[in-house]
């Protein structure tokens, strides 16, 4: 009984203190979902874009003109992070688009490993020791960005871009036979997804006191992939919920003093999920697909009353 009470008492503060990280992971998981779920490109090196974003942002907040003041520096770092990660995405997209399936996965994996290795040797940003970063982003600001990301994602999905990329994912031959430009569409989505991960990187850099390359290793890419698979490839709401749950999971395990078993629980969950519900918690279902909401909420904006 005591344990239960203690946990109920501590759960609130635990959630509160993890709010920054939860928000950042929601953005990250959504950005990966855009590449994996929406465009159907199997990328397993997503932490690479996150790292590019975080370090570009930190370069601005640590070495940039402090005279600008916190808020301006924060915004500048976000812009820098998104441009840098987006550019990395573009450079990677060019060779990647010739590849599918396993090959694409290997290239993205290689990319993330190269990025981390470069950071380990990048003296300007502290190399392996890492770099101390000023805290500029509040919980409120981070969640405002989460909201903004959700809106952007939602609106892209229910625009011509979202429709055409879905068609391309379903049948590339048929999609091209109606004139859809495969390379341009996939590049666009890949770059937007990478830039979004860059945004998460900037928020991470400005909400932690310290950045080190070890924080962007391969396990982080796998964690993101788990969120996307758990939530349901392609589902905005499913992936957001999965990101929240999986970020909280280690904190909750800590309350039970079970944090040593974290990876065990993680793997067991993934296994169970793949065996029992391979489409993820939500599949491609969205909150606004509920019949009650469907009557008032038409994602397409101009959809018929049928």
């Amino acid at each position: 009984m005591d344990t239960v009470l203690r946990i109920i008492n501590e759960l609130g503060p635990t959630i509160y203190s993890s709010l920054e990280l939860i928000g950042i992971y929601v953005i990250l998981a959504l950005s990966l979902n855009m590449i994996n779920g929406m465009a159907g490109m199997f990328s397993i090196g997503h932490a690479g874009f996150w790292a590019v974003g975080a370090y570009s942002a930190a370069a601005v907040t640590v070495h940039g003109p402090a005279a600008l003041g916190g808020p301006a520096l924060l915004l500048l770092s976000i812009v820098a992070a998104m441009i840098a990660a987006g550019a990395a995405g573009f450079i990677l997209a060019v060779p990647c688009l010739r590849l599918t399936g396993d090959y694409l996965a290997i290239v993205t994996l290689g990319f993330s490993i190269i990025i981390v290795t470069l950071l380990y040797n990048f003296e300007y940003m502290g190399a392996a020791t890492g770099v101390s970063t000023p805290i500029l982003a509040s919980k409120g600001f981070i969640w405002f960005m989460v909201l903004l990301t959700l809106i952007v994602y939602y609106r892209l999905q229910y625009s011509s871009l979202g429709r055409t990329i879905q068609a391309l994912r379903e049948d590339e031959i048929a999609a091209q036979s109606v004139g859809l430009n495969r390379v341009r569409l996939k590049t666009t989505v890949f770059v937007i997804g990478a830039a979004m991960a860059g945004l998460a990187g900037a928020l991470y850099a400005s909400s932690q006191t310290y950045l080190s390359p070890a924080g962007f290793e391969f396990d982080k890419s796998i964690k993101l992939l788990t969120m996307v698979v758990l939530g349901g490839l392609g589902s905005i709401t499913g992936v957001a919920v999965a990101a929240i749950l999986l970020t909280l999971l280690p904190e909750v395990l800590r309350l039970f003093s079970l944090d040593a078993y974290q990876m065990l629980v993680f793997s067991a969950m993934l296994l169970l999920m793949v065996l029992m519900r391979p489409q993820g918690l939500m599949g491609r279902f969205e909150v606004w697909d509920l019949p009650i909401l469907r009557r008032y909420w038409r994602p397409g904006g101009a959809e018929s009353k049928a």
Partner: protein
């Protein structure tokens, strides 16, 4: 023989080789402006392979393809479509998990004139364009009697309707030339009758020329002005429906030696 209208599509000594197999050899097809032309022949004669070469899925290894006098052989599928050629597939290739409406809206993508920013901010240009797409898509669907199924998933439609939806999707790209690969396959006589009527309407209302592969001879004989017959990748006959029906070589190819 009736005078034929000027050529929209013309292939000259078209051929393709897969390893040691000459799948199509020396085929010269011609589709005049406003014509409905049939391409028939036994299974494996190379009809769909011809379609795949015309639409840029395969690159021919010999010969040429021109559309309104301009060479289109070797162009990418996307560019072939942009030049005004659209097609359906023998083994239906709809976007099955998308709605009927979205299948058509996807194909109308070149009518989209808003950019990324406009869709993010949902500017008036976005709403106007989306409303226009919607209207146009429903218009096209209603020609084929599919408008009231616009919200169903394409994969849930009955077989015959899926074939029709493929035609609508192809039409949505405003083609000059429409290639139909066995449009009546799997349809019952009633549905085929209905389809025959629709195809004739297409030519009048949309001004498209049509090249079609079909095994249902009642349909082919009723609507085609000109017919080409392939066998083992070679053209064995061409002419008006009556002439083809009585051509000994064609009968032999279909029924075997007597």
């Amino acid at each position: 023989m009736k005078e034929r209208s000027p050529a929209l599509l013309q292939t000259e000594s078209l051929g393709i080789q897969f390893g040691g197999l000459r799948a199509v050899d020396n085929v010269g097809l011609r589709v005049g402006v406003g014509e409905v032309v049939g391409l028939i022949g036994p299974n494996g004669a190379g009809k769909t392979t011809c379609f795949n070469m015309i639409t840029g899925v395969y690159k021919p290894t010999s010969g040429s393809i021109s559309l309104s006098g301009e060479r289109i052989d070797g162009l990418h599928m996307i560019d072939v479509n942009h030049r005004g050629v659209a097609r359906t597939f023998q083994n239906i290739r709809l976007f099955r998990k998308m709605t009927v409406l979205d299948n058509v809206r996807v194909a109308l993508h070149r009518q989209v004139d808003y950019g990324l920013m406009s869709s993010l901010l949902r500017l008036p240009s976005f709403r106007r364009a989306e409303a226009g797409l919607q209207r146009r898509a429903l218009e096209l669907l209603s020609v084929f009697g599919l408008a009231d199924r616009s919200q169903d998933l394409a994969g849930d439609l009955p077989y015959g309707d899926q074939r029709k939806l493929e035609i609508v999707r192809a039409l949505a790209t405003s083609p000059k030339l429409l290639l139909l690969d066995e449009p009546a396959a799997g349809m019952n006589p009633q549905e085929t009758e209905n389809l025959t009527h629709l195809i004739s309407r297409l030519r009048q209302e949309f001004g498209v020329s049509i090249l079609l592969i079909e095994h249902d001879m009642s349909l082919v004989m009723k609507i085609c002005e000109h017919i080409y017959v392939l066998d083992y990748g070679r053209e064995i006959a061409q002419g008006e429906p009556n002439a083809i029906q009585n051509n000994q070589q064609v009968i032999k190819a279909y029924l075997g030696e007597a």
